[in-house]
């Protein structure tokens, strides 16, 4: 793999990181543009006031409350396109990745744009784009052209705040995807997290909104504190937080406790992000309190961000080829996966609030992904003979995981966006909000049902293919690479590794999950509309566009998943080297 090194902030840098640059510029624009006005600047010591077009009475055109939204959508769309272009076409044909290093020392790796990070960035920006587009309806509080008042100005500002937060979130997530140093990753993570805390608490006019935000913040801060402490322990042990150096250090690990404890503490930090049990508790409250699109963001992009962290520490750092002491987390992660998926599903089973239900389902999905991660660790039993198979196996699993993360954006976000449309009518407290949707708006209801079926893993939707890929990854590891290697393992008398049991648990869990996903369908198509929600669904053009995009993704990647699988595969290969 050829790698192009670029010093930070050189001209090449802006070429390679055009998307991130666009985001940054957009951020500045979002701060500046709504504030353009007839403001003047008093030259110090004089009475002369020089107009500097900032503050004061805002200009009519730039002060419109919908402008920030358009800017943000435009910026995100541009970034998305740039990333997509990078992802599909590469950079200049020669280099497949670009590395940002310290000035003068290419061994100090800071950021790296690889197919993997590009894919993740595309995912993050894509999810944010969907949220931004959907938010155009959500927070358009006054009609364009109406008389502006102080309150409107206030709204305008809030509008700008929202989109600024989306863009900072985007930057943070991009950083996570690009980071080659765990501390950089952590900084990006915190940037994105802080934005998401505020986004969750954005509904500050409602009790639920502020409460959800508070809980998410408190628990999130606690776990990131734990994570940072784990990071510091790791630094204490290794003297570096650069990923490749850590991997090297890990491969020479001795009988030490420190790194393992550090690893465990970091798992906590990322575990919160992916909402793995028992770090998921705040998630249902946060989802319920937040506006639906932001809840969708937490369930997709934010979770993917946490997964990136896990990939970095588990797959890149602690899993070098067939050495003693690697993949110590195998059993731990297996238990975590089993508990998480079961807990999520069982809890979702009785949830009547669709948002909480989706939150729990998100927990369950985290469990599936952890199960797949567990499987990657299987081959690493310290047997050199397994090394070639190992590479293949972890690639397969990682591909499945990436595919899963990507398509999750389509249907999970889609489901939240549908809820978002309904939220325009009032808060969603239980599934009566969805009642009678089949009659009120058949197409919306069918779309929602498709999202639900996809979440449940019904073919031929992308949720099925992703789940299938995950299962396939696990089974591949359990059934073949280990089974035929002569390694003496067995599960219930079969020539299968016990992680196959995780696959079994996973399919059983999907079966359980059908119950609550299907209930949404039943409520939509069977129950009569609730009082106050019996008129046709309010028009929400932009949200509809976003939902349509999600629907297309759900169907397309399910029926024709091949291209995405290829992309994910090359991304996986890039991450694992």
């Amino acid at each position: 793999m050829s790698e192009q090194s670029v010093p930070a902030f050189s001209s090449e840098f802006f070429g390679y990181f055009a998307a991130e640059t666009v985001l940054l510029v957009g951020l500045v624009l979002l701060i500046v543009v709504p504030n353009l006005g007839k403001g003047t600047f008093r030259v110090p010591g004089t009475q002369a006031r020089v107009p500097w077009f900032f503050g004061g009475e805002r200009y009519a055109f730039t002060g419109r409350p919908d402008v920030p939204g358009y800017i943000s959508v435009f910026v995100l769309l541009t970034a998305f396109m740039l990333l997509l272009n990078d992802l599909l076409n590469g950079w200049d044909g020669a280099a497949t990745s670009a590395l940002v290093h310290a000035h003068g020392d290419t061994s100090v790796r800071i950021l790296a744009a690889t197919p993997f990070s590009r894919l993740m960035e595309t995912l993050f920006i894509g999810a944010l784009l969907l949220v931004a587009v959907a938010s155009l309806d959500r927070y358009r509080s006054t009609q364009p052209g109406a008389v502006r008042s102080v309150r409107e100005l206030y709204n305008n500002r809030r509008q700008a705040d929202l989109h600024i937060l989306l863009l900072t979130c985007a930057l943070g997530m991009s950083t996570v995807a690009l980071a080659e140093n765990l501390f950089v990753l952590f900084v990006g993570l915190e940037l994105a997290s802080f934005s998401s805390y505020v986004l969750v608490a954005f509904n500050k006019e409602s009790k639920a909104g502020s409460e959800g935000g508070m809980k998410y913040f408190i628990v999130g801060s606690a776990s990131s504190g734990v994570g940072l402490y784990g990071l510091s322990l790791l630094y204490l042990w290794a003297g570096t937080l650069q990923v490749d150096a850590l991997a090297l250090a890990w491969s020479n690990i001795g009988q030490e406790v420190l790194p393992y404890v550090a690893l465990g503490l970091m798992l906590v930090g990322f575990g919160f992000k992916v909402s793995a049990a028992p770090f998921h508790f705040a998630a249902p409250d946060a989802y319920a309190g937040a506006a639906s699109p932001f809840a969708g963001l937490l369930a997709t992009a934010s979770k993917a961000m946490g997964m990136v962290g896990l990939f970095r520490i588990l797959l890149v750092v602690t899993l070098p080829d067939g050495t003693e002491g690697s993949a110590v987390w195998l059993m731990l992660l297996g238990i975590l996966a089993a508990v998480t998926m079961t807990w999520g599903n069982i809890a979702a089973l009785g949830s009547t609030n669709p948002k909480r239900m989706l939150a729990y389902s998100s927990v369950a999905h985290a469990g599936y992904m952890l199960a797949a991660l567990t499987a990657v660790g299987v081959w690493n039993l310290g047997e050199e003979a397994l090394s070639p198979a190992a590479q293949e196996a972890s690639e397969a699993v990682l591909t499945a995981l990436l595919f899963h993360l990507v398509v999750l954006v389509a249907f999970k976000m889609g489901a939240f966006l549908v809820l978002g449309v309904l939220e325009n009518e009032g808060e969603i407290r239980d599934d009566r909000a969805l009642a009678g949707l089949g009659r009120r708006s058949p197409l919306l209801a069918v779309t929602m049902f498709i999202f639900m079926l996809s979440l449940a893993g019904v073919p031929p939707l992308s949720g099925f293919l992703s789940k299938l890929l995950v299962i396939m990854g696990i089974v591949k590891v359990a059934a073949v690479d280990v089974g035929t290697s002569g390694a003496s393992i067995g599960f219930l008398g079969m020539d299968l590794h016990w992680v196959w049991g995780l696959a079994l648990l996973m399919v059983l869990n999907s079966a359980i999950s059908v119950f609550y996903y299907l209930r949404i369908g039943v409520v939509m198509f069977f129950d009569a509309p609730a009082a106050g929600r019996d008129h046709p669904v309010p028009r929400a053009v932009f949200a509809t566009v976003a939902i349509t995009a999600c629907l297309v993704g759900t169907l397309l990647f399910g029926i024709w998943g091949d291209p995405l699988i290829e992309v994910c595969r090359s991304a996986a290969a890039a991450l694992l080297g």
Binding site: A396, T399, R439, P442, L443, V446, L453, A456, G457, V458, P459, P460, F464, L465, L468, L469, I471, M472, V475, K476, A479, V480, G483, G493, M494, D495, L496, W500, A503, L504, V507, L508, S510, A511, V514, F515, L518, R519, G521, V522, F525, F526, W560, G561, D562, I565, E566, R569
Partner: protein
């Protein structure tokens, strides 16, 4: 032309999806007006399907000799790459195992529509029926495990809506139960399929092996590999074969359904609308039996031998227990539903017998029950529709008022209890022959079931259409009103079904011959006939 992909699967699926989207797009007020054109279009498509399959049968389309196809070779075979990295292909084809089922589906589609010609909200109902048919045909023509599974699960969705939107009072519960129950079983099956997939050797994965995984979902290739491995050894080893067999069979047994996994069926049937029940009993249950033949039987003959007795017990219990439970039912439709459980037990016994005659019996039972049970459910539907009650004993002497309903009921009931010269008899007799040869005195169970079957059918007739003396007892709520008989469309449907029952009763060889041919070819391969 690729008849199977384009005409048999593509056409109904595309047409129904287009029509459904159209209904979703027009304003709510206009939707009822679409009912008639929708019905017409879907009906025409259904008839076309039937004509095409019939043409295939007679060889006018494709010039197929259905008796000479052999085992694991197919006609109308088409294969295109679908998901290259995983080795998934769009692989369709027909053989003497799947063709009767496809034919049956194509036959039942228009008949179902006729029987429920005036179903409410027809603009959605009729396209859904067509969609149902498309997915069912998809299951039968799939020769790729991935594709098979996709269609397998897809069948749930139209049926879910049919039950949920057109069903009885408990439809909400029934629809969910139906979906979840069968889905649960089939995800276990899926895990089995995936495990099987990865247990293939990449070197044997054939031309369509996935670029990523190195294996292929192609069933034909897999069967060949398995057959070769099974001739001088055990494909995948004894343990794995047993494990996979169990996992796959679980999915199929629940679908079939075999006791004790049957309880979704009575609920689904009782609540489903007539059309849904007709297709559910007529074709959908056979998916389980078809799947058994297509995958576990073909791939794992050793496991089949190993589990022969267990399989027989499942069939035995389904047959006998199902019949006994039938006798205890007071709801006509529930009784018929349990009778389906009982009859599906016959199929299971046929497979368990591991006799060529038993296989042929099971295959023909699938077909025969596919003709007879829709009629039973059409009768139940007529009871519901015209009498607003399906309680046995809630009415008496209906034969006097509704001779058509009574005659249809009598005919259907008699066909179902295995009267000679009607479709079900040949299968039952062949089964008994095979069963005695394999299991000996266990035959008393099926014998008992035969008697009980007669008992519950006769009992239910006695207490609905007969008796009553001078004052026949009308169903509740209809006292003093004229009691209606079948509609014209229902009459037509009944006549068609009855005619088919008689046709295949007197000339069973129309369908049986090709089943025999398949069985014959299969046995040579599977159980090592030189």
């Amino acid at each position: 032309m690729d008849l199977v992909s384009i005409v048999l699967v593509g056409l109904p699926m595309v047409v129904s999806l287009l029509l459904l989207s159209l209904v979703g797009l027009v304003p709510a007020a206009l939707r009822p007006r679409l009912a008639v054109p929708m019905r017409l279009v879907t009906f025409v498509v259904g008839v076309v399907l039937f004509l095409v399959t019939t043409g295939m049968f007679f060889g006018t389309l494709g010039e197929v000799d259905w008796l000479g196809i052999g085992f694991n070779t197919y006609v109308f075979e088409e294969q295109y790459t679908w998901i290259e990295s995983l080795g998934v292909t769009w692989h369709v084809g027909l053989d003497a195992l799947s063709f009767p089922m496809v034919w049956l589906t194509a036959f039942l589609l228009p008949v179902t529509q006729i029987a429920t010609w005036n179903e409410k909200r027809g603009e959605v109902y009729h396209p859904l029926i067509l969609l149902m048919g498309a997915t069912l045909i998809g299951v039968f023509v799939s020769l790729d495990l991935f594709m098979f599974y996709i269609f397998w699960e897809l069948t749930l969705i139209p049926m879910f809506f049919l039950i949920l939107k057109w069903g009885g009072a408990e439809r909400r519960y029934a629809a969910q139960k139906f979906f979840i129950y069968t889905f649960t079983a089939s995800v276990v099956m899926l895990l089995g399929l995936v495990t099987l997939y990865f247990l293939q050797q990449p070197t044997q994965a054939g031309a369509y092996a996935g670029s990523f995984t190195g294996r292929s979902f192609d069933l034909v290739n897999l069967s060949e590999v398995a057959m070769a491995a099974n001739t001088d050894g055990v494909f995948l080893g004894k343990t794995m074969q047993a494990v996979l067999f169990v996992m796959l069979m679980l999915g199929f047994l629940v679908k079939l359904p075999a006791a004790p996994f049957h309880t979704w069926l009575p609920d689904a049937h009782v609540q489903a609308p007539t059309g849904g029940s007709m297709l559910l009993a007529g074709v959908m249950l056979k998916m389980g039996a078809y799947g058994m033949f297509r995958i576990p039987v073909t791939l794992f003959p050793h496991a089949l031998e190993q589990f022969q007795f267990a399989l027989m017990l499942f069939g035995f219990v389904s047959l006998v227990y199902g019949a006994i439970v039938c006798l205890g039912q007071t709801n006509l439709k529930k009784m018929v539903a349990y009778s389906s459980v009982s009859h599906m037990g016959v199929i299971l016994l046929g497979i368990a017998s591991q006799q060529p005659i038993g296989y042929a019996a099971a295959l023909f039972m699938m077909f025969a029950h596919g003709i007879i049970s829709p009629m039973l459910f059409a009768v139940c539907g007529a009871f519901k529709h015209h009498y607003h009650s399906m309680e046995i004993g809630a009415m008496r002497g209906m034969a006097k008022h509704s001779p058509w309903i009574a005659t249809s009921m009598m005919f259907g009931w008699m066909a179902s209890l295995g009267l000679p010269l009607l479709a079900g008899f040949v299968a039952e007799f062949m089964l008994l022959v095979a069963y005695w040869a394999t299991f000996g005195w266990w035959i008393l169970g099926p014998g008992l079931a035969l008697a009980i079957t007669a008992a519950y059918y006769l009992w239910s007739m006695q207490r609905t259409i007969f008796e009553g003396g001078e004052a026949t007892q009308p169903p509740a709520g209809m006292e003093g009103k004229p009691i209606p008989d079948l509609d014209t469309s229902e009459k037509v449907a009944m006549l068609i079904l009855a005619a088919a029952t008689v046709l295949f009763g007197i000339f069973p060889f129309i369908a049986l011959d090709m089943m025999d041919a398949w069985t014959q070819a299969a046995f040579v391969v599977l159980f090592g006939g030189a």
